[in-house]
Subunit: 476 residues, 3 copies
């Protein structure tokens, strides 16, 4: 159902793209890839709003779907000199003509995406989802825009129809502990929706007492849980309460991202003392870090009790460019990774819960150095630890290949999380999972080519990586 | 002399395994590998007990030889949910039936070793040492167990016969400074043993004044050396005494592993003051670190005098899972690497001894980031510095390939240590050295394929890496 | 114009050297490489003395040109046991016979350069510049020495003739802020010189108040600028003055290398207070670091005003071996890289100037871990940030390939600096640029082979990397 366009260069995606170029490995990789290509998508961590699926309204226009909310796309255009306002970020009343102009900017800067996975995702979307056969370019921009806009207005491009077409088996969203999860409940109660959309408990803000809005957040947590959050014990009880609510609504994991990975208990009296300081807004940043690490320890303890899988992806400098944050807000592409340390940081948590029956943790990193040095050794000893696959900046072909080469020799294949798309870009989900399958197939093909695995083992392993691993790591 | 078994899948090891898959590089790699495949094994650092060779008793059973003492094998089984007790770790009175059951667990979890060097080692052992032709599996477990057990009872499988068969030229053990080295002396005095088994001076515990058992250790050091270790000067003299004893018994190196790589002198009065605090058990952990770094500086000074090569492999968090340590002890697979820093840490040592005639140091790391950033630059300037090859977690094909690609461009081939097996698993020694030869051959083949070396140069270099480099780095 | 020598092995450089060995990628790489092979050389950062080109005197002998000043060559010979004095380093009255002997040492140790780019550079120089067809060896040493010496005495081997023959389009030197740039002015005023040789403002020493010679340096800065450097405000004004002088003489960038990357403002009173302490030589090292970071912030502010591109390459431990420094001075191969942190360190600078119209910064690192973790994310958001290509120790084939694989997926190709030769070894400039073109061609060939780019795109990108990127990054 390719729509033939008349402007621009043909977009003719090679079926073997991203597979090894080596003539001996290519056929092996192709065979492995073919065996997993059509397996269902398991997506245990992401940022698609549940409301989209609950309401099932058509998407309004190409830009607000493909550009404005996607900081992967935004950031490189911004680096190329295009203001975020031109792309619709934090703009109210962005007009149709501005939307079209933003799309033209993407198309006229198509070359800046060479060598990036963004190009792979968008090309796959154009071809596989929209059936369009020209590459973005200044010439093709308007015709592409119109063709996409026209399709988005049709029923097959509504969120639920796409959910089915994408073959999604499980989709997790990311939610505030105070969220009422009304859209998740609506989906669960709707017999016409046969998918599975689970919330994820993401309490970061409530664990950072140095935030200026922390008192208000904690007040709200008290109100929503019906518990008094005036004490640390009350905060803990309220967290337990909201975790239980999330679990009752299908959640399988809690997700955590702070400046470092440290998780460390505090005795009750000291925790109450720091909490009281925080409530009075007289806590220092050092004390706030100490309290946050104790709060994380409590989250781990709760995880050992309620069985929600704990996922951690620490050490990103949020909102690095202060003026852009003030003008455009968060999640605009200005979060910059930092060095991370896990071995010492998570020792108290793993000493306490590392072999607990219900405890399970997935460690993600953007600092690739942690893979072979810390994460593979941890996951290669602790039955509770899984290595999160490359994510965010390193959700990309060469980085994925480095990941497998870094962790497999120490931890094997069974101790990794399965692919995580972590995306706000709903339409990119199939392409992201597809890319992961291609790269893992290439890695496995190499192991076969080097006589480290048989082809049968590689095919079996590829399927495990797609379906078995995420189900085990996230207890699905 | 393959023993034909009837259960399970055939184990048919490809002679080209671990060589590059590329059709152009494969024949080059094969030719290079063939030129070094049968060269003798030089093993200047490892953990095989000298007593095994001194007594030359038959090994008792497959599990206590292949599973229980080998934390490489244990750790991944533990991560897969199998208690270490089930594998015989720290168990007294482990029965023959328990031993067989442990072997079954290994076999039924064979898939968790896919992509790891453990699989390569064990498969090589089954094929090359035991002549068995089936892969481990639930079905084949008992038959494999019985076949191995039967062979172990025969003369060709005694420690000395295997030593000869493995083609070992030099084998170093790792020993406590207070060890009487009686087994080394026994071997040296035995005209029927023609091998060379040298002790290695490993004084770590005596350099960590914060240990609860440090006073007792230092008392013992005094007793064994016949010197008063009540003062720091006495401690230094006792160390010199024991190093001399080790050297007289064939030692070529001392080996050191602490939480960091810092080596820094202290003036005599301050050292005595801290030492006195330590003896009185009132030293702080910070002071204990300071004293330990000064003690390391003394070891370096002694090395510049007595010529024992200093090897360092810092920055591993020992006994990370406290409950497992309390139940099962050390060296069970729960040591986790940490970030390491060499450049600043070793500057005082290299400023003092870096160009001394007798001083030689080998730096090992599990933090691969140190290779191109610090170790290759250090070894590329200091005539005393050698880069230790990948070791422990990264003694694995892809990691070895990364190592060569990381250090060679800065330090060439001559500044690396030669392969280190570092193993307690005696039977894995040939497979480990073989793997290293395969991977280095693949690396050299690539350099030939890219016209960076001639094939003659590659063949000459391969032999140097196997024999010349360890002999130079360890002054053999 | 190959000179036929009679000693030693033939040096027959393969035209495809350093291109991928893979039979499918090789022809692609060759086609891409051929398209850029002869493009002009843009060299925006290096250490060739402008005086060489101004005076255009013949080079005196092979050793003083190829060995003595080149710490890449020196360091590996030193690590191999050859004293730096034997290589002419810091020697006055080095005799012709000593010079010849130094060259013999290089030749007899030729094998230590296997696998290093030094070999590639020197072989390319022998073949492409001198037209000599034998490889260095003990046997060939004298004949090579004589042949090189003979050519150096002829007009085609004078600096300007070589400049033209190398196809250099732009060459930057590195200069002290107090330099009078007389040689640059001489070249600019000379109608017979048609090249472009620009100074680079390198004020490191003036920003390190803990140096023992800092007061003298700052006094001189005052004298040269005609401004009173007795106060911090005066220091700032003097820096502005000298930057303006450099800019007027063609400078396009300032270059900075300190122990860390931190750039952080200080309020005026505190800066004056610390500056006064520094002038009185009572500043602590911690205060000196604080002042240095504020001085760097001022450099960034000036860059946002005057538009000189700021280049930073922090975190190298200078003069690591104290005794060698005392005997031979700086820049002798004893500088050792350290870990580096950019994300937090440069945040204050980028918050202030990251989107300023005239501000542009290039971050270089030898700590490769920063590429995917910090530099690509920074350059992928900030329009002012460029990622510096591998440099110094990692200006080498495998490291360059790792670089492209590390940064491209996050930042694309457009956000990188273009090749930087950074060399004192004038004759190695063509070989260094050529090597970069070969490796980038290989990387692009792989992307074509994996169907990530079309061949046309790869060819276009290759040219951009050679010419477009350095011109954009350095505003040429």
């Amino acid at each position: 159902m390719t729509t033939l366009l008349t402007s621009g260069d043909r977009l003719d995606l090679n079926p073997d793209r991203m597979l090894p170029a080596d003539a001996g490995l290519r056929p092996l990789a192709r065979e492995i890839y073919e065996s997993v290509r059509q397996l269902p998508i398991v997506s245990p961590h992401g940022h698609v709003p549940a409301q989209w699926l609950a309401d099932d309204e058509p998407f309004s226009d190409p830009t607000s779907l493909l550009i404005t909310p996607d900081h992967y796309v935004n950031r490189l255009l911004h680096a190329s000199g295009i203001g975020l306002d031109k792309l619709g970020v934090a703009q109210t009343g962005f007009t149709p003509e501005q939307s079209r102009e933003a799309f033209r900017l993407l198309c006229s800067h198509w070359h800046v995406f060479r060598g990036t996975p963004i190009r792979f995702w968008l090309e796959s979307e154009l071809t596989d989802i929209f059936g369009l056969d020209v590459a973005p370019s200044t010439d093709a921009a308007d015709e592409l825009y119109d063709a996409i806009a026209a399709k988005l207005a049709t029923p097959p491009f509504r969120p639920r129809a796409l959910y089915d077409r994408f073959g999604i088996d499980f989709l997790a969203t990311t939610d505030d502990p105070c969220d009422d999860l009304v859209h998740h409940q609506q989906l669960a109660a709707d017999p016409t929706f046969t998918g599975q959309v689970a919330p994820t408990f993401r309490p970061d803000r409530y664990l950072e007492p140095a935030r200026t809005d922390w008192n208000a957040l904690v007040d709200r947590l008290g109100a929503v849980s019906g518990l008094d959050t005036g004490t640390y014990a009350g905060w803990v009880a309220a967290m337990e309460n909201r975790r239980a609510f999330f679990k009752a609504n299908g959640a399988v994991s809690s997700d955590h991202s702070h400046a470092d990975a440290r998780v460390e208990p505090l005795d009750a009296a000291e925790a109450e003392r720091l909490y009281a300081l925080a409530r009075r807004r007289t806590i220092t940043t050092t004390e706030a870090d100490t309290l946050r690490r104790a709060m994380m320890f409590e989250q781990a303890r709760m995880a050992a009790d309620d069985g929600l899988v704990l996922t951690m992806h620490p050490a990103v400098y949020r909102n690095h460019h202060t003026p852009s944050f003030e003008r455009f807000g968060s999640d605009i592409g200005a979060d910059i990774p930092m060095q991370v340390e896990f071995t010492r940081a998570v020792q108290p948590m793993l000493a306490a819960f590392g072999t607990s029956a219900y405890f399970q943790v997935v460690f993600f990193t953007i600092d690739e150095t942690a893979y072979s040095r810390e994460l593979a050794p941890l996951a290669g000893f602790y039955p509770s630890v899984y290595i999160g696959v490359p994510w965010w900046f390193i959700d990309a072909p060469d980085a994925m290949a480095r990941f497998r080469a870094s962790v497999t020799e120490t931890a094997g294949f069974t101790r990794t999380s399965g692919f995580i798309d972590d995306t706000r870009a709903y339409l990119s989900i199939p392409a992201r999972h597809d890319l992961s399958r291609r790269i893992d197939s290439g890695h496995l093909a190499r192991l076969v080519g080097e006589h480290r695995l048989t082809l049968d083992e590689a095919i079996e392993t590829a399927a495990e990586l797609v379906v078995g691993n995420p189900r085990r790591a996230f207890k699905l």
